[in-house]
Symmetry: C2
Subunit: 366 residues, 2 copies
Amino acid sequence: MIWALTPPPRTANIPANLKRFGCTHMNLKELARKLDLSPTTVSRALNGYPEVNEATRERVAAAAKKYNYQPNTRAIRLATGRAMAVGHVIPLATRHEIVNPVFADFIAGAGEVYSRNGYDLLLSVVSDDDEERAYRELKSRGTVDGVIVHSPRMRDERIPLLHDLGIPFVVHGRATDSPRPYPWVDVNNRRAFQRATEFLLDLGHRRIALMNGLEFMDFALRRRAGYEAALAARGIPVDPAIMASEEMTETSGHRLGAALLSGPNPPTAFLVSSIIMGLGIRRAIEERGLQMGRDVSVIVHDDELSYLRNGDDLPIFTATRSSVREAGRQAAAMLIGLIRGEAGAPRELLMEAELIIGQSTGPHRG
Amino acid sequence: MIWALTPPPRTANIPANLKRFGCTHMNLKELARKLDLSPTTVSRALNGYPEVNEATRERVAAAAKKYNYQPNTRAIRLATGRAMAVGHVIPLATRHEIVNPVFADFIAGAGEVYSRNGYDLLLSVVSDDDEERAYRELKSRGTVDGVIVHSPRMRDERIPLLHDLGIPFVVHGRATDSPRPYPWVDVNNRRAFQRATEFLLDLGHRRIALMNGLEFMDFALRRRAGYEAALAARGIPVDPAIMASEEMTETSGHRLGAALLSGPNPPTAFLVSSIIMGLGIRRAIEERGLQMGRDVSVIVHDDELSYLRNGDDLPIFTATRSSVREAGRQAAAMLIGLIRGEAGAPRELLMEAELIIGQSTGPHRG
DNA sequence: ATCACATTTCAAACCGCTTTGGATTGGCAC
DNA sequence: GTGCCAATCCAAAGCGGTTTGAAATGTGAT
């Protein structure tokens, strides 16, 4: 026993457990002691490794339950090098400080999937000029295993950045003109707005206004493309006078609607990028003593936000409908697949929007 | 050198760094080697401990910057036993699956404060029957240092639970009839609605309808109390026929408004718990050819949600106004104080709402 | 009895940081 | 020269898990 000469520990320090929790918190070592097994075996038993006797595994499982053992996440993360967390970086447009209203429901959907898979959801709200730094930090500090990119712009710089950093990511939406391919989940905005436009055309409308979101956002560009394609297919020229691209608020909807309706050659139908904006337009219509659905038709896009239902039973607005919450679920599932390195899983998901017929549309009345 | 006899390591294994990152990621040990210092000293230098030479500290800081050293969060968390993260448990009402629309802006405010203080924001969306389990897990797995409690109900069971678990927490709102005191940040809902009611009374209104949120929510109870107190002070009896308690959506606002206005003895003013609901009421008013602000007065509560501005420049609705985002900041700051064990900091914060005069109110026209 | 081999278990290294308890050095008073 | 103290720095022991490499045990074939 020569190496008993090794210098003895300086202090007989009190169990860290006691120091930290005030009481003895059940941890792996403790549990192993109670079971008269090594921590190795206990760890393996609980994690389902094959090289442990089935009988032992059951003993371990029983003891773990009995003592309510929960492995310490911090330790797992360090030991495995995985963060078991996913980051959502929410850009806060510095200029107008708007939080995308869609984001709460998206998160709710994604959150479901994360918690089912043992992942935490890390939210960081950053003003958009800090975004790059935020991503770099997430990477170098290792707080997350992957991220979801929200509200992509056209040719979004975050995509090459994340590619370079080597963080797995999924984009909610797409970024037109991205040089490299990237994983995304999106609604077929183009098709949805094309169909909606066709529907209005079929009803006899010829002057259809487009009330779009800000057109540096990718989804807005695609919606416009769909609208223009449908018009072009019928040989109807697009008229910039009845197209707008603004923040999607009730007030801007009202303002735009009022201006158009009282202008010369007013539109007989509106195609609107958001249900909130739609509320404003409806107000502008009714203000003029007109009736939505009879005198003026309106189609909105409905993200199925939980606090903004399009009618309880029968829909108020005719709408292109697609659940953001479901998009959240899908994006989360795709991201987890990427993180796990599951090959073969699809990397792109295009969700079709339904066209829901409500009470806000009707035939053009010459 | 006797204890060189200690059995040698079995394998000359490759640097873990290389294995994990594919390249040598700068970590504390590496940085220390480059500086020809011990990890201890480097760590202390970077964390501002006093026992390191100022010259050394500068050398270290320079090197850290040069090599872009970022300490690994996972390791810090394990070593310190702090999670450096705060949890927000968002209850997802299982019945109607509603995500509180206020929550996005609250988070945005809180997030600011967290990131300034080096805390992560962990979101977990749980259906409300899983809530207790969620809190217990957060505790026993040690993923967060504290939590924010959202949407408190009257005599909320989460408060005693968190007290028992010993997790620092701050409630956004209050829970009437809680047996023990607890830290909270809230708007003076009672006072706000009392003042708003008084304002309407002063304008000559006598039939004032209350369109409230669901009255198992604490804020709704307090708003009602304020409303009733103001009426009582003028000797006006409350009339349940013109009081409602529902989900605060546009449609329910419209439905309730329409029913009341076309009923017998209609109200001449509405006091409404949410701007969204207010939009519905306005629609019901205008539908009848009446004008809001002239024929019927409306006061709403405005949380200053970023995507639902009450007018761009001059306010549309007369409103009791209070920024949820600011509440988020305050709650986060309070929670961090609690986590750090700062004594003496206030544990309760009552924010007063402003009464903003907009275009939706006017004198009662006999 | 012996050897090859599969099964089950374990000791110790490791993840990357913090923190404890010295060790070392130099200056200054005695 | 000695003792004391402050200023600096360091080795090693942690945090609570996972993972590696090997040991112990049992089993069937030779």
